[in-house]
């Protein structure tokens, strides 16, 4: 058994990848084509010419990508999302770990975290814009607000469900509390943390776009808003597609990180 498991682990690329089953291509292609064709047909038949359709959107892509305004907007939004996610990740992880391992912290924070998580981010925007002005800081604050709580909740879940055996071993080897928290609880919670990050990344993108819509700060969201108001729907739609692509990229990033740095995850059942 040991030889075969080692051999299996040595060739991870041969593992079947979820969603890439051999028979999946044609059904997927056909459904996609039907959606695009009916969209094209319905818009051509019933809508005014400025309304985006697949053909005009496709043709707009090179033009939009070459536009310096679009490049600046994209960079600005992405930078803000990265900064906000980074801050949310650090604070969310620390607060989550403490909440998961300390009953006092859990009791103190729990309802506030759940409450803020459930709160639509758009309702805090007027407050944030009062505090930080109609500025990029408000956008960052919104992104952090959007991302932070899903990370806290997931990391706290992960920290709570660390197998007792690990903690027992750490105690037997006289690990300090800090070392247990960051050396045992954090790595054991990594799958949860990544799940939280995946959720947070999507929410952060939404937060950035919502803030740009609301505050008219330069960025991808504002680019979409501006172009759709100037009857350039195809250009706006390129922005929408790019946002969707970013969402997919975050997803792929999480999957890649899991495969690359946590080969042990989902294989634990074999070790115990």
């Amino acid at each position: 058994m040991s030889v075969s498991t080692i051999a299996a682990a040595a060739t991870p690329s041969k593992r079947p990848v979820a969603g890439r089953a051999p028979g999946a291509f044609w059904p997927r292609f056909i459904v996609g084509a039907v959606i695009l064709l009916s969209w094209e047909f319905v818009v051509r038949a019933f809508a005014p010419p400025y309304v985006a359709k697949p053909s005009t959107t496709l043709m707009a892509i090179p033009r939009v990508f070459a536009d310096p305004a679009f490049q600046t907007a994209t960079l600005s939004t992405l930078t803000a999302v990265a900064q906000g996610l980074g801050i949310a990740l650090v604070f969310g992880t620390v607060i989550g770990l403490l909440m998961g391992r300390s009953q006092a912290m859990e009791r103190g924070f729990r309802h506030y975290v759940n409450g803020f998580f459930a709160m639509p981010m758009i309702v805090v925007l007027p407050l944030f814009s009062l505090w930080f002005g109609y500025s990029a800081q408000t956008r960052i604050a919104t992104i952090i607000f959007a991302a932070l709580f899903s990370i806290i909740i997931n990391v706290a879940d992960g920290a709570r469900s660390v197998p007792r055996e690990y903690l027992e071993v750490a105690k037997a080897f006289r690990a300090s509390r800090i070392s247990v928290l960051f050396g045992i609880v954090l790595p054991a919670s990594m799958p949860y943390l990544l799940a939280g990050f995946r959720l947070a990344a999507g929410r952060a993108l939404i937060g950035a776009v919502v803030a740009e819509f609301f505050l008219s700060i330069g960025g991808l969201g504002y680019y979409i808003l501006y172009n759709s108001r100037s009857y350039k729907h195809s250009e706006a739609f390129v922005g929408v597609l790019l946002l969707a692509a970013f969402g997919v990229c975050f997803e792929l990033l999480v999957v890649w990180v899991t495969r690359r740095f946590m080969p042990w995850y989902r294989r634990e059942d074999k070790s115990a």
């Binding site: 682990a9 027992e168 006289r174 294989r267 070790s271």
Partner: protein, 282 residues
């Protein structure tokens, strides 16, 4: 019952087999009147025994008799309620330096490689990097895992994982080793191999060892003395001196005395087990 021996009986038995009892050394672990309860449930009471500096004491008992709990108390992982535990001159209330434990569940960290897992105890003890770099390969080699330094636990069989757990415990060079049914989770053949590996390693680096097991054969093969726990709450029912020739090897299994001692432990334990089996849970 002539077979029942009191705690001081190792001196008496040493007359019978001076070659063996003479080299167990002075006591390293002294357990005195130990008692433990969870609320109203008393787990064990009045447990008293010593473990010599170079002695293996095996503890057997029916399942649920609290042998694992006893071992965790000796390690300081669990608090005890009565009596005291001395390791050397230190009174145990929490895990102390110089004592290492090997777990039934292996307790390897899945995100660490073999090397990193073996290094864990040393790192927690604050060993300098150079020392860790020197010792980790040494102990990996000692347990027969050379070549698997970079493997993760999920890639290894149970036997290999427990070798890693053993290396992690040995790497801190403890003078007390506590073994919590270490080979209970591996298959029968692997278990036998690991038993002789453990004997080989112990003969190379003798320590005081408490070995909890539910296998009578294992207890008799490894132990210099076998303590049989009984009852609810459990207490020491009998201490049986295993006067088999040293060093223990595969030949020990064919020794006529081995069969005798195994039968004797079996008789003691099965009487208890049969009574325990037909007790309804409260």
């Amino acid at each position: 019952m002539p077979e029942v021996q009191s705690q001081g009986s190792s001196e008496i038995s040493s007359l019978a087999s001076p070659s063996m009892a003479a080299n167990t050394g002075e006591p390293r672990i002294r357990v005195r009147g130990l008692g433990k309860h969870y609320g109203a449930l008393e787990v064990f009471r009045d447990i008293t025994f010593d473990v010599g500096k170079r002695e293996i004491v095996a503890i057997v008992g029916p399942s649920g008799c609290g042998k694992t709990t006893l071992l965790r108390c000796i390690d300081g992982l669990l608090p005890h309620d009565d009596g005291e535990i001395l390791v050397g001159e230190t009174r145990v209330t929490e895990p102390i330096a110089g004592v290492a434990m090997v777990f039934q569940h292996f307790g390897l960290f899945p995100w660490k490689t073999v090397s990193e897992n073996v290094a864990y105890g040393l790192r927690m003890a604050g060993a300098p990097k150079a020392e860790i770099a020197r010792k980790v390969p040494e102990f990996i080699k000692l347990v027969g895992l050379a070549g698997f330094e970079k493997a993760f636990p999920y890639q290894m069989s149970g036997g290999m994982q427990q070798r890693c757990g053993l290396a992690r415990a040995l790497a801190v060079e403890p003078n007390v080793l506590l073994m919590d049914e270490p080979f209970a989770a591996v298959d029968a053949q692997t278990r036998e191999i690991l038993q002789f590996e453990l004997l080989r390693i112990w003969q190379e680096r003798p320590t005081a060892m408490v070995f909890v097991t539910h296998s009578i054969e294992e207890a008799v093969l490894l132990g210099h003395r076998v303590i049989v726990l009984k009852g609810r709450p459990s207490s020491i029912h009998e201490t049986i001196v295993i006067d088999l020739p040293e060093p223990r090897t595969r030949d020990t299994l064919r020794h006529p005395r081995f069969a005798e001692l195994r039968e004797r432990v079996w008789g003691t334990l099965m009487r208890e087990a049969r009574e325990a089996e037909f007790v309804l849970e409260r």
